[in-house]
Amino acid sequence: MAKPQLVCPAGSLAALKAAVDNGADDVYLGFRNDTNARNFAGLNFDDKAVAEGIRYAHQRGRKVLVAINTYAQAGRFADWTASVDKAAELGVDAVIIADPAVLDYATKTHPQLRRHLSVQASATSYEAINFCRDKFGIQRAVLPRVLTLAQVENVIRHTEVEIEVFGFGSLCVMNEGRCWLSSYATGESPNTVGACSPAKYVQWEKKPSEMDVRLNDILIDRYGNDEKAGYPTICKGRFDVAGETYYAMEEPASLNVLEMLPEIIRIGVAAIKVEGRQRSPTYVAQVTRNLRQAIDAAAAAPGGFAVNPAWMAELGKVAEGSQITLGAYNRPWR
């Protein structure tokens, strides 16, 4: 059984170095524009930073992947092809693409450039993945976080495309690549501007006994002083539904697959991804370090693997809402 690659996020050069220094095999990043789904103010890489990041990673035998994972907007296709061209020129190890048109461009223009199918492509079946392999020569696919582990295993059995799954990080309502909730409130969403709940629409208001958060003036949550907060997204808001106020769509929590690592390795997952390009180098270092140790331990002795409570404690602390979950992986229903 091969040991899965550990794929970690970087929103800055400092985060990339933190990932490499703490044991990431691959680091993924985005350019400073809306061709990636973490297009936040002050985040991401200019050309100089990408070049330095590649140098730093390659010197240490690690790889740099570039996410071009939003859908090209009408009339602006050239922005997406320019990002693909730039990634190829800079010498990245792979591009992570969602839009079939962008994939098609990359396949025809840069056939030598390794292509991964982004989670945003929302390919949940081996048929969809094999279609992308036949048409666009993808070598890896990132699975949406909606499948049980048994379903992931079924996908792996029916494709030779490497399968990457999420191992840690914030969850959303898992309508990956198709979510318009942010647009409902603001007119902008990951697929249109590269950001969910763009910061210019977010207002945190501290009052003596509570804190309100609004998205474009729509109240999405109210936290008591002792309550943990989450990201200001509609999917994790608490709403009044038939006279009761609760998380109507999803609780703020982070996925954490530590306890499933031996199973993930056994079924042949090629890579484990960490979410969080918007987080700090400190988060990247903490999560990478703990997952590195856990994956190494699970791969060395799958039968005798036990989750170290120190890993859980550190990962639990940085989790959104300070809560962790196994997400869809262990749901009994389909």
């Binding site: 501290k206 700090s280 180098p281 988060y283």
Partner: protein
């Protein structure tokens, strides 16, 4: 880059309430001046990027250390951080946290989002500006410092 493994682990702590009670009664201008001086020194070291600095031009900031009672008001204008003496009106962006949280963030022992989620750090005002500043601070790469390397210099002076 700061090698945080060389910095002792900073626990979460809150200073006795008396300190804040005294601190809030003391003049605040030295804090504003010291913080502006420190930020200008960081700028001269080249760790703050010009493109981000141009985006915070003219903005007013307030940093409050809750358990010391320290409040520092400053802005970035015409190429330098400047203390603000007249603190009337609402700043564009306010950070408030206990001293230990700032120390943990500066030494890269805690993640700002984690401190925000668990309500230790509060950020109010222009959220986009807050995100920009947070990302600027996250992207900082301090020049490598070797305390071992410094030692002989000091000794030879002695």
């Amino acid at each position: 880059m700061i090698d945080s493994s060389r910095i002792p682990k900073i626990p979460a702590f809150t200073l006795p309430a008396l300190i804040a009670r005294i601190g809030t009664r003391l003049p605040q201008w030295p804090h504003s001046m010291n913080l502006a001086l420190a930020l200008n020194a960081a700028k001269r070291m080249g760790v703050l990027h010009d493109d981000t600095l141009s985006e915070i031009e003219g903005k007013r900031f307030r940093v409050t250390v809750l358990d010391t009672g320290m409040v520092a008001d400053f802005s970035y204008r015409a190429g330098a951080f400047r203390p603000l003496w007249n603190t009337g009106g609402k700043p564009d962006l306010q950070f408030a946290a206990p001293l230990s949280a700032y120390l943990q963030m500066v030494s890269r022992q805690e993640d700002p989002d984690t401190l925000f989620f668990n309500r230790t750090l509060s950020i109010e005002g222009d959220t986009e500006l807050g995100l920009r500043v947070k990302n600027m601070l996250d992207a900082l790469e301090w020049p490598a410092m070797s305390w071992q390397g410094l030692k002989p210099t000091f000794l030879s002076r002695g």
